[in-house]
């Protein structure tokens, strides 16, 4: 049996073999990703529910565990309504444009030492590019819907993403300086040592700005002016229904996970154990695979996103802009100089 499979495999041309392996790898990344997206919606509802002294979904399946599946099924079976005044081509393309880059960005994310689909040298740049392209989906959705609320949402989104992209980009430049590479694996490896060697200490302001810009990029409270439910109803996706709407949500949550994982990778040592360098504990936790640490750190950041949503009111649109341009960008620029100096003078323990 096994031999015949191997024989069959051998008969395939080498090029096709490579292609098949890549497709398999993509599936291995995307399938769990979409699964976790579904369950983050449940986690969000549950976490916020408990923060708000209620129980949250508990009817579908044991303790509501099948809720995301029921939700997905419902959205799949719903009619996709095409508004008469909408541009039909752009209207359908927009959600595709939103989810495509959100998934594509995952190709350079390393899950453990060497566990990466594409070990690209310009990984960081690629991610920045991909997350920026995602905003086209939102703008086109707002434009194609031909609705005033969607249009306002799209305008807000365009302005917001452009402003926060700059702050985010500068934060990434700081990481690049500190890690000495654009390759995410090398950035993580540059943080070897201990909890104190991770970049969150020397890059603390950039870390915070990256996290908050991430909130703004993914339209989460307190920067959710793009969707601002109580103002522009649902913003850019107000006219979307059924699966087209679900695809926007998928993209949004995939982006949240991505931002959180990048925070873990760039500032919190990625798959490195937090007990590294501590005499007894290091050995004790040796058996834990790196990916578990990475996922634990990512989960923590995702929890922060949910926590913020339960706590904060929403900024007004112009206040979001002011925060981006007048606070975040100056801080990143100043801190870049500090990091630059620290790298030049090889300040231990991070840059020696």
């Amino acid at each position: 049996m096994l031999e015949s499979i191997l024989m069959l495999w051998g008969a395939i041309p080498v090029d096709l073999q490579t292609l098949l392996i890549i497709v398999a790898k993509i599936l291995i990344i995307v399938a769990p990703l979409l699964g976790s997206v579904a369950y983050i919606t449940l986690a969000e509802r549950k976490v916020i529910a408990y923060m708000q002294v209620r129980i949250g979904p508990n009817r579908v399946g044991p303790r509501g565990l099948l809720q995301p599946i029921a939700d997905g099924l419902k959205l799949l079976l719903k009619e996709i309504i095409l508004p008469t005044s909408a541009n039909p081509y752009l209207f359908i393309i927009a959600p595709v444009l939103a989810i495509g880059p959100a998934l594509a960005a995952w190709s350079v994310v390393p899950f453990d030492d060497g566990m990466v689909l594409s070990d690209m040298d310009a990984g960081l740049l690629y991610i920045l590019a991909m997350t920026s392209v995602g905003v086209y989906g939102i703008i086109i959705a707002g434009w194609a819907s031909n609705s005033k609320y969607a249009f306002l949402g799209a305008l807000r989104s365009a302005a917001q993403v452009v402003s926060y992209e700059i702050a985010m980009g500068f934060a990434l430049v700081g990481v690049l300086l500190a890690g000495g590479s654009l390759n995410l694996q090398e950035i993580v490896n540059a943080q070897q040592g201990s909890l104190l060697h991770w970049f969150w200490i020397p890059l603390l302001p950039l870390f915070a700005i990256y996290l908050f810009s991430g909130l703004a990029e993914t339209n989460r409270t307190p920067f959710d002016v793009v969707e601002g439910e109580s103002e522009i109803v649902a913003g850019f996706h107000v006219e979307y229904s059924g699966m087209t709407f679900a695809v926007f949500s998928l993209a949004e949550y995939a982006n949240i996970i991505l931002i959180c994982m990048l925070c873990a990778l760039m500032f919190c040592g990625g798959w490195l154990s937090p007990f590294q360098g501590i005499p007894v504990l290091e050995g004790f936790f040796e058996f834990v695979p790196g990916i578990v640490w990475l996922l634990a750190k990512t989960s923590f950041f995702i929890f922060l996103f949910l926590w913020f949503r339960a706590t904060f009111p929403r900024y007004r649109y112009d206040q979001v802009m002011r925060l981006g341009w007048k606070v975040f960008i100056p801080i990143t620029i100043v801190w870049l100089l500090v990091v630059g100096a620290a790298v030049v003078f090889e300040i231990p323990p991070w840059f020696d």
């Binding site: 916020i48 002294v53 609320y149 601002g228 109580s230 103002e231 904060f312 009111p313």
Partner: protein, 417 residues
């Protein structure tokens, strides 16, 4: 070159923060509001006209449905106007019960307002915290009057019945075990007054919780300070009353200025704002909740020590007890007359205003001596507030419109009537 046109946005009536059925036509320059034109009437039910066609007592239930988040205070305005026409004063115990329930209703209203206002500005959690407390208050309503919202509890000549000696308890079910239920029933062991007292003890800490989430929150301040500023002079000219007027720094509260019932015996303060912006109105209302708790505590003290009738013993106005009705011919006749024809009110007219959670709630009744009003006019406090919408929102941004609608505390039941 093309002419630059304003962006006209139809805001509502199916909008999540239209507070029911408000329809605003917004003319915007980008995101900046140039003109806000409120359209009303989508919840018009003809309350005033309906009242002309039925005996006085049957319209009390309509009053609950005017401002459906402060039910008993609406009843109070109507019932007081009838009592003024009839020239009767309810027993002192009924007056204390009314004052206590007015203040409970004030807390109910302000909790709903706080939750909705916070939700409009994006803070979701306060809304659900507020509903946790509203649950207890609605249970109090239910225990007293039998209905959680539309109580129909006040009557000309007193209140429908005395406070119950026992608080209803939860019962174990498939979803709640005996142990869980025992915990839920912990503060329901005594009488209704015990339950209310327990609530007044707990409530200030809950208000602290809301304040922790909002008062010093930078984003909350960004969104409310300097938004929808109304000067004291302008507030008077626009006909503002209640917290809207007090937020502008004008100390005006009918409970102090024209005391009705037993408010003159109560010890409480009137919070007053300084700047007249949304933030000050928020602070005023938060403080009002604390002051209401004070009044409730005083009422509980009095009600515990003093018993007595809660309804006038006038068979031409109030129904006889059911026991006597079963055996006594005269009582039966009185009952029959009261519940079919009702009572007649002497010819004349009366205007009575009460301090409603939203402002001055006025009821103007004209009687031609029949068993139903010749005309009933209701002054809804929300109406002049909404009328100022254009002035308050002009020059602000779209997101502020939502914050300003929130701070006005409008409920369309009373505005459209």
């Amino acid at each position: 070159m093309a002419e630059i046109q304003n962006f006209t946005l139809n805001f509502g009536p199916q909008h999540p923060s239209a507070h029911g059925v408000l329809r605003l036509i917004l003319e915007m320059d980008g995101e900046v509001i140039e003109r806000a034109d409120p359209h009303i009437g989508l919840l018009h039910r003809g309350t005033e006209k309906l009242a002309e066609t039925k005996p006085y007592n049957q319209s009390i239930g309509y009053m609950d449905r005017l401002d459906y988040v402060s039910m008993m205070v609406n009843e109070h305005g109507y019932v007081l106007a009838l009592e003024k026409l009839l020239g009767v004063t309810p027993p002192i115990r009924a007056q204390y019960i009314r004052v206590m329930f007015d203040e409970i209703t004030r807390i109910l209203n302000h909790l709903m307002w706080l939750g909705a206002h916070a939700l409009d500005i994006g803070a979701m959690t306060v809304f659900l915290y507020g509903f946790r407390e509203r649950e207890d208050l609605l249970d109090i309503y239910e225990a007293t009057s039998g209905a959680r919202m539309h109580a129909t509890y006040y009557r000309p000549g007193g209140v429908y019945r005395d406070l119950p000696d026992e608080m209803p308890k939860y019962q174990a079910s498939k979803w709640h075990s005996e142990k869980e239920v025992a915990k839920l029933n912990e503060n329901r062991q005594g009488s209704l007054l015990d339950f209310i007292e327990d609530f007044t003890r707990r409530f200030p800490t809950y208000v602290d919780e809301y304040e922790t989430l909002l008062t010093e929150n930078r984003i909350w301040k960004h969104r409310t300070v300097g938004i929808g500023v109304v000067t004291p002079e302008r507030a008077l000219q626009l006909g503002f009353t209640g917290p809207m007027l007090r937020g502008s720094g004008f100390e005006w509260d009918l409970r102090k200025k024209q005391p009705y019932e037993v408010y003159d015996k109560m010890d409480f303060d009137i919070p007053v704002g300084k700047t007249g912006d949304s933030y000050d109105r928020y602070l005023v209302r938060i403080e009002e909740m604390r002051q209401s708790t004070r009044i409730i505590t005083q009422c509980i003290g009095w009600l515990r020590d003093n018993s007595g009738p809660v309804m006038l013993d006038d068979r031409k106005l109030t129904p006889p007890p059911r026991e006597s009705m079963k055996g006594d011919m005269e009582s039966l006749i009185h009952h029959f007359k009261l519940f079919t024809e009702g009572y007649s009110v002497p010819e004349g007219e009366a205007y009575v205003a009460v301090e409603h959670p939203k402002g001055e709630f006025g009821t103007y009744v004209i009687s031609d001596g029949a068993n139903k009003p010749y005309r009933l006019k209701i002054r809804a406090p929300g109406f002049p507030h909404l009328a100022a919408c254009d002035e308050m929102t002009r020059g602000h941004m779209l997101a502020d419109v939502v914050a300003i609608i929130g701070t006005m505390d409008v409920v369309f039941g009373e505005i459209d009537r």
